[in-house]
């Protein structure tokens, strides 16, 4: 077995990116993800890559846009208010079909919020944070090993679909320390070069144009429809989720990220008390695994959705569940994280026990 090392979430994401062949990182500091750019500032020179601390998140995302035009693997990371600032650039990148991996280590909001963990950027991440018709592929890790694996996947998906991919982590995932095993290093020279569209010098060939725009509405509509087709394809092939002890369950907890991991403890404790609970944890928040969740909840006594926000994924859970089971919701906000006991009490109350 490869070596296990103890790492912080931000370091885990950074090292996983380096190993996935990322050699370009642009970032601006914001808590609770500061160790990620700090790690990259040390690490990029070691692997002949480039790290640049920009003057703002607006500058960051436009540098990511420019770097992504070369077809090389590029990443940035930020936290909630910073990601809001990036939205214009994210929309442009999605429109221009540029691959990149973006990381949002979510903290409390709205506005300045606080530096504690939250999941209140779900809507922004999955329903379009910027303007126009587009989608990001959104991956939500609940452990550091999963974060490492998903960073690698994120770069592959970004390349495959020419679309920005967002790692939606919360502050706990950013700051916690856990053992992980890193994958082997990918040689950047063996990665997709994107010779068919990337801007790498037009000597001896027709010029490439990377743009989200066409002045002719007939052409622009075609570009829009091309995106729609791409998003349909992603929806049909890239849904990912985890099912935990659902086979004999009467009650289904739905949760993502950090609450997903806490909910596993709830499942264990509930079962010790004879309540058959299982967990459905979406890993891709977009595309959301509607169909599978609908199949699972048929005939269940209760679906309890738990989130660190006012009920954002709850809308997708309800779309999936329809009238197949009653849906209850429990939330903590402002940087508060519930204990397993607290969630179990809510669950028992909902069941009338």
């Amino acid at each position: 077995m490869a070596e296990r090392v103890l790492v912080k979430g931000t370091e885990a994401i950074g090292e996983a990116a380096v190993r996935a062949g990322c050699r370009l990182f642009f970032g601006y500091p914001i808590t609770p993800q500061n160790e990620l750019p700090e790690y990259m500032s040390k690490r990029m020179p070691e692997v002949n890559g480039s790290f640049l601390q920009t003057e703002s998140e607006v500058a960051t995302i436009n540098m990511v846009y420019g770097a992504a035009c070369t077809g090389r693997r590029v990443m940035t990371s930020t936290s909630s208010p910073g990601f809001s600032l990036m939205q214009e650039g994210v929309s442009y990148m999605a429109g221009a079909q540029l691959p990149a991996v973006l990381v949002n280590v979510v903290r409390g909001g709205p506005g300045l919020g606080d530096i504690q963990p939250a999941q209140s950027d779900y809507w922004q991440a999955t329903k379009g944070g910027g303007h126009g018709d587009y989608k990001l592929i959104v991956l939500a890790p609940s452990t550091l090993q999963e974060a490492v694996d998903l960073v690698s996947l994120a770069f592959d998906l970004a390349d495959k679909y020419r679309n920005p991919v967002l790692i939606l982590a919360d502050g706990v995932i950013g700051q916690i320390m856990e053992p992980v095993t890193f994958p082997e290093f990918k040689d950047p020279n063996t990665l997709p070069k994107h010779d068919d569209w990337a801007l790498q010098g037009a000597i001896g060939r027709e010029k490439h144009v990377v743009t989200s725009f066409d002045i002719d509405p007939v052409v622009l509509e075609k570009m829009n429809l091309e995106l729609v087709e791409k998003f349909k394809k992603i929806e049909s092939t890239e849904k990912r989720w985890e099912e935990y002890k659902l086979d004999d369950a009467d009650v289904v907890i739905t949760a993502f990220g950090t609450i997903g991991r806490i909910s596993k403890s709830v499942v264990t404790r509930a079962r010790q008390e004879g309540i058959k609970v299982g967990l459905f944890r979406p890993i891709t928040l977009w595309p959301f695994p509607y169909k599978r969740l609908e199949e699972i909840v048929k005939g269940k006594k209760l679906v309890l959705d738990v989130e660190l926000n006012m009920g954002q994924m709850l809308e997708d859970v309800k779309l999936a569940v329809k009238d197949n089971a009653p849906v209850a919701f429990y939330k903590r906000m402002g940087g508060m994280v519930p204990t397993p006991e607290e969630i179990l009490d809510v669950l028992k109350m909902e069941l009338g026990r």
Binding site: V5, L6, V7, E15, P32, E35, G171, P179, I262, S265
Partner: protein, 217 residues
Amino acid sequence: MAKNYAFIGLFGSGKTEVAINWALKLKEEHEKVAIIDGDIISPYFRTRDVAEELEKMGLITIYPKGALRNADLPIITGGAIGYLSNEEYKTVLDIGGEENGVVVLGYLRPYLGDAEISMVVNIARPFSSTVDGIIKAYEELRRVVGIKVDYLINNANLSYETTSELVVKGEEMLARVSELIEVPVKFTVIPDFINEDGNEFRYPVFKIKRFMRMEIQ
């Protein structure tokens, strides 16, 4: 026996867990024990995050109280100096990671008295997994603080995956470091879920309970 104790080290070496457990051990023999959250680097998983639990166990906890508790500001309260200087109190200092965190110790140096300074080392961390890496970190921390490090502490751990084999491997590596830099090893940390019986440890064992944690199973 020293009046003040400070724990330094790289990010994630386990300083906070060791500092908390050391303060609780002091509390077994001393009426008045204070623990200072001197971590200006980490936004959470700090001593202050378990302050109420520690207060219940009889420790005095020193950190910016009230609204500034969770402010993203590098604050060391005046109380830190008070407890470090007060002869009635055994005082433990939990310092943030790396060279940026350890500047706090440099700032508090005039008030440390005969403080015992220990460097906590976890060989399962990427930048302290070799003898050279540990010595480089030691030289860097010492340079920033301008202070003598009295002891090394073996805290080889992979969180909930820690095994006695890893702990022993940490001892072997620290023994070599100790010989090269001529700083003795104070103790080996083992988590409460590892049974020390049947294991041959080179250094005295310091058993700890973990306070910083997040549910997984």
